[in-house]
């Protein structure tokens, strides 16, 4: 009996922690990610948001171009995508086998996507001048 009480207490505590984590996750886990899984998930979300913004700016720029320029922009974007993937694969490689690997990969994608968006915004500005 003496052994059962602490075990019971421990399972209660575990259950409580799990329940509160679930509640937090249901709210918005990315406001304050705590576990590696949450961190990975949130990094991926941030990348997807950055990617959507890049697509928006890309389309704005493409809309201002004639067919020839659009083809060149498309070629540049395709080569950028390959560069992004290869560069982030390199950064990920450094953490091979670690639980942080997905986080590193998504953070790299997000960072590169944001700087590409800045670049395209600059080109858009040049066109508007």
């Amino acid at each position: 009996m003496n052994k059962i009480a602490p075990a019971l207490l421990l399972s209660c505590a575990l259950l409580f922690t799990a329940a509160s984590a679930q509640k937090r996750a249901a709210q918005n886990p990315c406001e304050d990610p705590q576990t590696q899984v949450e961190l990975n998930l949130c990094a991926d979300r941030k990348f997807k948001a950055a990617d959507a913004e890049l697509n928006r700016v890309y389309n704005q720029l493409a809309a201002k171009l004639e067919a020839g320029g659009r083809a060149k922009l498309k070629a540049a974007e395709a080569s950028w995508l390959k560069y992004r993937d290869d560069n982030c694969a390199y950064e990920e490689e450094l953490y091979e086998g670690g639980s942080m690997q997905p986080l590193i990969y998504s953070s790299c994608l997000e960072r590169m996507t944001k700087s590409r968006t800045t670049e395209l915004r600059g080109q858009l500005k040049d066109l508007n001048q």
Partner: protein, 131 residues
């Protein structure tokens, strides 16, 4: 005596201010003030060649820090992809000036900018490895 000291101080400030301004201009658009377009092209090209040489140095520093064969192969793949991106992006950026005399200069400016950005990235990657 006090007046002379003040005057000297004023002149020194003025000179250093002008110097700083000139340097800043050099850093932003050093070649645009060349007397002819040909010289501006040459100047911009030289600047790009210098940036490229510096990038190679940084790349080799990073590669030397990698012990894993696979990591080195992946870095090389990234660099080859980056070269293609640099060329395609600057081909696009300079296409607005197609047929114009400024085009080679614009292309060199673009390549220098893209090269400097890549250099910054590789330097960050070196820092990560050193942590």
């Amino acid at each position: 005596m006090k007046r002379i000291a003040l005057a000297i101080l004023f002149v020194v400030c003025l000179i250093s201010f002008a110097f700083a301004k000139a340097q800043r201009q050099r850093q932003t658009q050093p070649c645009e003030n060349a007397p002819s377009q040909y010289e501006a092209d040459e100047c911009a090209h030289k600047e790009y060649v210098a940036a490229d040489a510096e990038l190679n140095k940084v790349y080799n520093q990073l590669a030397a820090k990698l012990e894993d064969q696979e990591q080195r192969a992946q870095l090389k793949a990234a660099e080859l992809a980056w070269i293609k991106y640099r060329d395609a992006d600057c081909e696009f950026a300079s296409s607005f000036y197609k047929g114009g005399t400024m085009r080679p200069m614009i292309e060199s400016f673009c390549k220098t900018d893209v090269t400097n950005a890549r250099m910054k990235e590789l330097r960050e990657q070196i820092k990560t490895l050193e942590q």
